[in-house]
């Protein structure tokens, strides 16, 4: 039933509105409407007395609808709705007419036009309000479990915080061990802690936590459901080893005859075909890489019919032969498991562009490597035990050049943004080189040093003053090999001179991007991402951890490149966000959702394909559309595509909008 006793409350907002808009005249004009029972103005509607005025008026005039004409609804819609609710009026019978940002301010040069526009906006709002339904928030049950995708430091932190709060948490990590990029690092700026010392306790906590269910070497296959009720399919990739039996003793590694580049060491070291990622891996389990294993390659060829097995020929099974617990079975044990969770934290991290992407900077030479690769060479647990050596010949470098901003801040050849962590890790690496090799000369070619964190600027000065790192302001344009050396062709933009230096190694601080495959994951989760693979937050400043999909949060470098401090903070933040949802037995959901009038719906499916959330299905028996309210986000894409009024968003019905449009469009 259309409302007949509407109250209109026009805010002066001090002089913000009243200085331009003739609020008295507006109240008078609007008061003439038959359906308006009461209209008034007040200096600050959002103040306590202002709200009281609305509450009292609702009671006094028995109002069945309220329009508050004030500022943007993003600011005080909730305030006003709560005020109405206190007076017993359904909050969905309150609408905001934004006459400050949309009338008073942009037209402060023309008070007459601003006043007329304010009247028009209020009239249109009343037209829309009149057919508003009273609504109650929807209640959605909650599964009190959480999923964390990504086992880097942000994910680890999130999982531990959740698990410690008593939430059963599922963690899915793509690699065979958790630890992420942080575990690859040598030491961390600006404190120079070693991640092997500070991260392993946390990793072990995850591995042994009674509330954490860990799936490593696993990927998300499919996500369905909605906030509080997600169903997640997880693919456990084939390891060819029974992890229940494997003790991680490492005997198999000693006998495997195959040698391939180690992913964990970013190609700086070789590993065997059956391998354990590193000595501190969590879980500490062996797995076989089927692309390099002699036996599995042979078996695959036989299966494909490419070769016929000869009798009595023993194919390599050296690892299995030495495995006492008989864990190695060579069977493809890929498996899909299903988990139900209430919230999801996405902490998929980052990767860096490869050196090969920069041929002009010598990326094709073995001794020109990315900073992340160099981390392995600087790491005490790395292939060179922390004393950097040239990958090409194992020589100790007498001179090293670092190049900042390789691909970063370079929209033409890389990414437009600053990769944020390179300045600091380059300075750290320069310091570590000087630590390990005091006689080695270090040249650091930078454009700007960005050291905006606690203790960061001081750290930079230490490198300059105490460690003797040579900083040269100017971007390197070319690196090439001459004899045994690499010639770095740079510039010093401060003295205005061309600078050339021959060094033994060049470290490129290449640009960071979102992890590989994150876009596919984002599509499964229905969350937005940008072209470089960073996941998008709802609001950069105020909602940095939220995604538009309720119950899905992002943390750490998945959102944008971050240092460890920020990643950990975000991990905790996302955990807290999840806990907020999971702490309630029921979730409340805005009821402004699509509804189907089954009398009118012809079941054509035009709405179904418009729904980005998969909320619409066609009932095969009744042949009409059905909306899953838990999935619906209320965008209205379905409604706009419906050629009739069969599916509409509650309180945004077509008749309501058209009536508002009628007011807005009229010439008089």
């Amino acid at each position: 039933m259309a409302m007949k006793r509407i109250g209109v409350f026009i805010c002066h907002c001090g002089r913000n509105i009243a200085g331009t808009v003739d609020v008295k005249r507006v109240a008078e004009e609007i008061g003439k409407r038959e359906d308006v029972a009461f209209s008034t103005t007040y200096v600050f509607m959002c103040s306590q007395p202002g709200q009281k005025l609305i509450e009292d008026s609702i009671k006094e005039y028995n109002l069945d609808g309220v329009v508050v004409a004030n500022c943007s609804p993003t600011l005080h819609e909730r305030t006003m709705r709560n005020a109405a609710a206190r007076a017993g009026l359904n909050p969905y019978r309150v609408e905001i007419a934004n006459i400050r940002e949309w009338a008073a301010w942009p037209h402060e040069d023309n008070p007459e036009a601003a006043t007329r526009k304010a009247i028009r906006i209020i009239n249109a709002t009343i037209e829309k309000l009149k057919a508003n339904a009273s609504l109650e928030p929807l209640e959605v049950p909650v599964i009190r479990r959480a999923l964390v995708i990504g086992g880097g430091v942000a994910g680890i932190q999130a999982a531990l915080d959740l698990a410690d709060a008593g939430i059963e948490t599922v963690m899915v990590e793509r690699e065979p061990s958790i630890g992420g990029n942080m575990f690859r690092l040598s030491e961390t700026f600006p404190t120079l802690d070693c991640p092997q010392c500070i991260l392993t306790p946390k990793m072990n906590d995850v591995g042994g936590h009674p509330n954490i269910k860990l799936y490593t070497y696993s990927e998300i296959e499919d996500v369905s459901g909605f906030m509080g009720n997600f169903k997640v399919k997880i693919k456990k990739k084939a390891t060819f080893v029974d992890w229940d039996k494997c003790t991680g003793c490492g005997e198999c590694l000693r006998v495997c005859p195959v040698s391939v580049k180690s992913e964990y060491d970013l190609g700086m070291k070789d590993r065997t075909s059956i391998y354990i990622v590193n000595e501190q891996a969590v879980p500490l389990k062996a797995l076989i890489d089927q692309d390099s294993c002699i036996r599995l390659k042979f078996e695959k060829k036989v299966q494909e019919g490419k070769i016929k097995p000869k009798k009595n020929v023993k194919i390599c099974s050296k690892c299995a032969d030495v495995c006492e617990p008989e864990a190695i079975h060579f069977k493809n044990n890929e498996e899909i498991v299903e988990e139900e969770v209430g919230t999801i934290v996405v902490a998929t991290g980052y990767e860096v562009m490869p050196a090969e992407a920069f041929p002009e900077l010598g990326g094709k030479y073995p001794d020109v490597i990315t900073a992340l690769q160099f981390e392995r060479l600087l790491s005490p647990s790395g292939p060179t035990a922390g004393v950097p050596r040239r990958p090409s010949d194992g020589k100790i470098p007498k001179s090293i050049a670092f190049v900042h901003c390789v691909g970063s801040r370079d929209p033409q050849n890389g990414v437009p943004y600053c990769s944020r962590i390179c300045c600091m890790y380059t300075i750290k690496q320069a310091m570590l080189v000087k630590h390990a090799l005091p006689d080695t000369a270090v040249y650091d070619f930078y454009i700007d040093i960005r050291s905006n964190g606690k203790g960061y600027e001081e750290f930079y000065h230490r490198a300059k003053e105490e460690y003797g790192v040579n900083f040269i302001r100017g971007k390197v344009s070319k690196v090439y090999k001459v004899g045994d050396k690499y010639r770095v062709q740079g510039v010093d933009t401060l003295t205005g001179r061309i600078v050339e230096v021959d060094v033994d190694m060049v470290i490129l601080a290449t640009a960071a991007k979102g992890s590989e495959g994150v876009k596919e994951l984002a599509k499964k989760l229905r969350i937005p991402y940008d072209e470089w693979g960073w996941l998008k937050e709802v609001h950069l400043k105020l909602k940095p951890l939220d995604t538009p999909v309720g119950g899905v949060f992002i943390a750490g470098a998945a959102q944008f490149i971050k240092d460890i401090t920020d990643s950990v903070a975000q991990g905790s933040g996302a955990a807290a966000k999840s806990l907020g949802l999971l702490s309630k037995p029921q979730l409340e959901k805005e009821p402004l959702l699509a509804r189907v009038d089954t009398e009118i719906c012809a079941g054509c499916g035009r709405c179904k394909d418009q729904c980005a959330y998969g909320a619409i299905t066609i009932d095969p028996i009744r042949h009409v559309s059905v909306v899953n309210e838990a999935l619906c986000e209320g965008c209205g894409a379905c409604s706009a595509n419906c050629p009739t009024t069969a599916i509409q968003v509650v309180n945004f019905k077509k008749g309501q909008i058209i009536r508002a449009v009628d007011i807005l469009a009229e010439v008089f």
């Binding site: 009398e599 009118i600 012809a602 035009r606 050629p643 009024t645 069969a646 019905k653 009229e666």
Partner: protein, 353 residues
Amino acid sequence: MSNDMLKKFIVDAFEKGLIEAVMAPAATKDSYTYALITKKEDVDKITPIAPVMQWNGADMLRRITKLKKSERKLLAILRPCESRTYKELVKFNQINPENIIVLSYDCPGTIHARNFKYEPVEPENLVEEIKNGGKSEKIRDACKVCEYPAPIPGVGDIGLGLVNTDPVFFSLSDKGKEFLGAMGITEGERDADAWVEEHRKRREEWMEKERITGGRKGIEEFLSSCLNCHNCKDMCPICFCKECFFEDHNVFDYESNKFYNWADDKDGIRLPTDRSLFHIGRLIHMGTSCIGCGLCQQACPMDIPLYRLFGIVGNDLQKVFNYKPGVDDNLPPVMEFREDELHEFEGLLGGEE
């Protein structure tokens, strides 16, 4: 002749157990209507190739199968335009194609239902005309400028060739191939390209000439005799809504002051107010899927040549999306979207800034 042959084909199919029912036109006193038969003894009651198209046959199939798939094996004899409608309606979930075999033929076109009433034409006469590649002058506008007068591979299942040949059957789908095989019929060929091409040439010239231009004046004059009876919509097979948006009283009922305001502001208004908007709105809602059967025009009691409106604007819309309704396998433009497309519709002068 052709009809007799088709009837024989149908009897055969019944006997071989390949079908359990047939939907095809049947003569009435002054016209032809669609009929559903379930016994081979009833075959004589139908005229598979009829000179009038009172309804769009796909619309009839919609009625039969919308709620549940066809319970029996049904052979539907449809004109090429109807079989395109059939394919389009399957996409809109209005027809369940299971258990349906669609046969279409080189269509001689149909006579306007009202003209036929006063000046009947024997179906075989029309078929005779196309055998030599000609086409009667009496047939409807939409038929004269039909884009697809011949069966289209992938649309329907079985084709019957009549142009430049004695009747030949050929398959249009795997289902049709199987069917013909089971019937023991060898597939034939015939060359109708020139005949089709002629239609298309005529169509282009016609579209150029008959386009409604001039904006308000053009459309108002074109619709000046419109009764707002909505018959065009009722006959449109693509307008399958249960209740038309433009008939929703919640949306379109107004209090009197609104009417007076309009009259004040626009120096007088025509009543009813939604005459042109109804047609334009219908174009917006369904134009991308307009098959061009022309039944809107035939249904108009005031003889407004509506095919000039729906056929031509529909064609323009379909060009934008590079979509041929009832022919393409992909979804109708209103059911999908792409991330990188249509940039010419963005911004002030089209395209990026």
